[in-house]
């Protein structure tokens, strides 16, 4: 007891280990949470004490969230914030600390709540959240070996509740086991919400199936339930979507683009093992954000220039991404422009059609490599270019042409960029080592929230067309 109280007192000022889950409307907050010194965002739910839910959970996300919750070590608690008035999916958590705040203040309030809850958990004044899923083995089984262990035969049965992996043909001609791995939607290395069913043989991917987008909510017909709140789409796409209908300040658009690229960079650096540098870049992107449109100097462009220079010299980063994730010509054509295509030498940019940009002397950034490295360099270059444009743009406004160049690709023409990329994944990832597959996925900058605006194959017109 004495030991425990000493340890608890010592632990009080440590950053709270949180596992971060972001639902609908939580995309902006998660960045600010990562920047909070009081929190330590973990890669795995196991060592986390607080499950932090930012945004509204769809029903698909709910089950994964419950699973993750049960996987956390005790003592644990749930702290959540939702933009919706009522969040039916999150109400499955019996004990939670709900944070009630407007979106702008949500991150700070969430962090403060996490700290308080952790302290209460350690002091024993707040009960640890009980397991939420029913405690049943995935398969009924009973041991059949001489010591009550295992299933039937060599590989049959469901020993300890699960069957063994099955063997399948491989490119090596060896018939070894194939491991079906379901990853996502909360795997920190992958784009938020991406679900993949991956067949691995060794560490090489044999087959990939892209799972249903968890941000897509099926409208339940004839339900008595009140209607779900309209899906807002990813927050950092908002100015670009607006520019499809009304003229928007060029400076505002370009700042948003730079911010998006820097956010992406921060996330990607973390996954590539440069967590501290990634956090610095995230902080930089937040500063770009707070400047807003109008103020045309001190946008952190000097810092971005310096960052770009240092990252282009980072040979291990280049080494980790060179030659990874090249798209074929057909695949590039299907993209219809966007940064991924521009990184493969295809000079297509919707901004070239806009007189406001032409007046500013805009020329699209194009790289030739076509691999993950080229995409990295392109985005860094574009971030720098966007900040320059924002500085010089003054008050010039875009012209409404019905299309716009979003940070991930063209908007307003058919499905969005991520919807175009998702169907390419199986072909692209097959045959890659798992780490290379993650590198590829990162470099594509997929956004499942954006893809949810136009579910692939749904035949529904994009949300922005309405």
């Amino acid at each position: 007891m004495v030991v425990r109280s000493i340890l608890a007192r010592l632990a009080k000022k440590a950053p709270v280990p949180v596992f971060l889950i972001s639902g609908i409307g939580g995309d902006e907050i998660t960045d600010r949470l990562r920047l909070d010194d009081r929190l330590h965002v973990t890669d795995s739910p196991r060592p986390a004490m607080i499950l932090m839910i930012a945004g509204r959970l769809t029903s698909d996300l709910k089950y994964a969230a419950l699973q993750v919750h049960d996987q956390m070590a005790e003592p644990r608690a749930v702290v959540r914030w939702s933009p919706a008035e009522r969040d039916p999916a999150a109400e499955v958590f019996p004990h939670f600390v709900a944070v009630d705040a407007v979106a702008a203040a949500a991150a700070a309030t969430l962090a403060a709540a996490a700290v308080n809850t952790r302290d209460d958990l350690l002091a024993g004044s707040f009960p640890s959240s009980p397991p939420l899923l029913p405690d049943v083995e995935p398969n009924p089984w009973r041991g059949v070996g001489p010591w009550g262990q295992g299933g039937t035969g060599m590989t049959g049965g469901v020993p300890y509740g699960r069957p063994l992996p099955e063997r399948a043909k491989d490119r090596d001609g060896l018939q070894l086991d194939q491991l079906l791995m379901r990853v996502g939607p909360f795997l920190p290395a992958l784009p938020e919400g991406l679900i993949l069913e991956v067949r691995l043989q060794g560490d090489v991917i044999q087959d990939v199936t892209v799972g249903a987008n968890p941000f897509v909510e099926e409208a339940v017909p004839d339900s008595e339930e009140e209607e779900l709140p309209a899906f807002p789409g990813p927050a950092d796409l908002a100015p670009f979507l607006a520019s499809l209908r009304v003229p928007v300040a060029v400076a505002e658009l370009e700042l948003a683009r730079a911010r998006h690229h820097l956010r992406w960079l921060g996330h990607a650096l973390r996954v590539h093992g440069l967590a501290a540098l990634g956090r610095r870049v995230l902080a930089l992107s937040a500063r770009v954000h707070s400047q807003g449109a109008g103020s045309s100097n001190a946008l952190g462009s000097a810092e971005v220039v310096e960052l770009r220079r240092s990252l282009e010299r980072n040979f291990t980063l280049a080494w980790a991404t060179r030659g990874i994730g090249r798209l074929s010509g057909d695949q590039l054509a299907a993209l219809d422009g966007g940064p991924v295509a521009r990184a493969a030498g295809i000079e297509r940019d919707e901004r070239c059609a806009d007189p406001a940009y032409l007046a500013l002397g805009f020329k699209p950034v194009v790289y030739a490599g076509g691999d993950a490295l080229a995409r990295w360099r392109l985005r860094l270059h574009e971030a720098e270019q966007s900040l320059r444009l924002a500085e010089t743009a003054g008050n010039s406004m875009t012209t409404v042409t019905g299309t716009a160049e979003g940070p991930t690709g063209p908007l307003g023409r058919g499905p969005g960029p991520s919807s175009r990329l998702l169907p390419l994944l199986p072909e692209l990832l097959t045959g890659l080592e798992w780490g290379d597959a993650v590198t590829t996925l990162l470099s594509l900058d997929l956004d499942l929230r954006e893809a949810a605006l136009t579910p692939p194959g749904s035949g529904v017109a994009p949300a922005w067309a309405w």
Binding site: R4, I6, L7, A8, L10, A11, K12, K13, A14, P15, P17, D37, D43, S44, R46, P47, M49, Q71, M72, A73, E74, P75, L122, P159, Y160, G161, R162, L179, M181, L187, P188, A189, L200, G202, D203, L269, R270, V271, H272, G273, L274, A275, A276, L277, R279, R280, A283, N314, T316, L317, W319, A320, I324, E433, W434, G435, D436, V438, T439
Partner: protein, 315 residues
């Protein structure tokens, strides 16, 4: 008899003290470098307390289990890693007189202990019966089989001028010129291979974010704490060894030998710990290729240059 046992116990205590101290220093250094890279305010006192606070927090957590893990090997993995680090630190002479374990085959004992690190890390990844952790375990086997040869060969290079595999002669042979200058290829190759060995920074392949932490993915509570500590133990051991065989160990003017040794160890430790902030994680396959086609030949060249030098010096 009793006196002998007492002196053995005293020396063992010295190793434990150096290990604990070094591990703590490594943890604090990591906090400092991380905050410097983030470009946020560094408060030395807070940085010094942070590792302890984190450790206390982990110590209060309930350990999680996985589906039918190999519980025995899972429990053993951090203990084995720490024990290997302790043994390899024990063969390093701390000063000219304070030599915890005086073995005729010092660098072989060290290399043997470090060769078994692969076992500990593989078991850590294998045991929880978790897919990403398993991928991580096999990555480390690839990494381990690649770094081991150049690692051992550059150590052999330092034995050449000393004409002995024991560490005291190796240190004293550097009286006039440290091996870092005499064998310019030695220390760089050594540092790269020990980074791989302690799965740290750019070569933290089994603990990468792309496998959500890999070998430590399923760890929480005390086992996670022990695994982290054991990893830092390895960093301390390899830094001390690097200081002894490349930077002349306790040799140095003005200051007492122990201080020199501590400073040199600290320098290498800081270098290794800081590497995490500068280099992105390398691909497994690239590392394997480079380890075999660049590091191994370089290490062999290093040995031959060292041999020719030693021969000329002896004439």
């Amino acid at each position: 008899m009793v006196g002998e046992a007492l002196s053995t116990a005293g020396l063992a205590l010295a190793v434990v003290a150096v290990m604990i101290g070094g591990t703590y220093v490594a943890a604090v250094l990591d906090v400092l470098f991380t905050r410097l890279t983030m470009r946020v305010a560094v408060r030395p006192l807070a940085a010094a307390a942070l590792p302890l606070r984190r450790a206390a927090q982990l110590a209060l957590q309930r350990r999680t289990l996985t589906e039918r893990p190999d519980a025995g090997t899972w429990a053993l993995a951090p203990a084995v890693l720490a024990a290997l680090a302790a043994v390899s630190l024990a063969v390093v002479p701390l000063t000219g007189t304070l030599i915890p374990v005086e073995a005729d085959t010092g660098i072989v004992v060290f290399a043997a202990a470090m060769a078994l690190v692969v076992v500990a890390v593989y078991l850590q990844g294998w045991s929880p019966n978790s897919p990403l952790s398993l991928v991580a375990a096999y990555r480390f086997v690839a990494e381990g089989l690649s770094y081991e040869i150049p690692f051992a060969v550059v150590l052999i290079g330092t034995a050449l001028p000393a004409r002995s595999l024991a560490l005291v002669p190796i240190v004293t042979s550097q009286e006039h010129l440290w091996n870092v200058i005499r064998q310019p290829l030695g220390l760089p190759v050594y540092l790269i291979t020990v980074l791989a060995l302690s799965f740290w920074g750019p070569l933290a392949l089994p603990e990468g974010q792309d496998v959500a932490g890999g070998t430590s993915l399923e760890l929480s509570g005390v086992p996670r704490l022990l695994w982290r500590v054991a990893q830092l133990n390895v960093l301390v051991a390899v830094s001390a060894m690097g200081a002894a065989v490349f930077l002349g160990g306790w040799l140095g003017p003005w200051l007492p030998g122990g201080v020199w040794m501590a400073l040199k160890t600290l320098f290498l430790l800081a270098l290794l710990v800081a590497s995490r902030q500068f280099f992105a994680r390398v691909r497994t396959e690239s590392f394997v290729v480079v380890a075999w086609t660049v590091l191994t030949p370089l290490a062999l060249v290093d040995v031959f240059l060292a041999g020719i030098q030693a021969m000329v010096a002896a004439r």
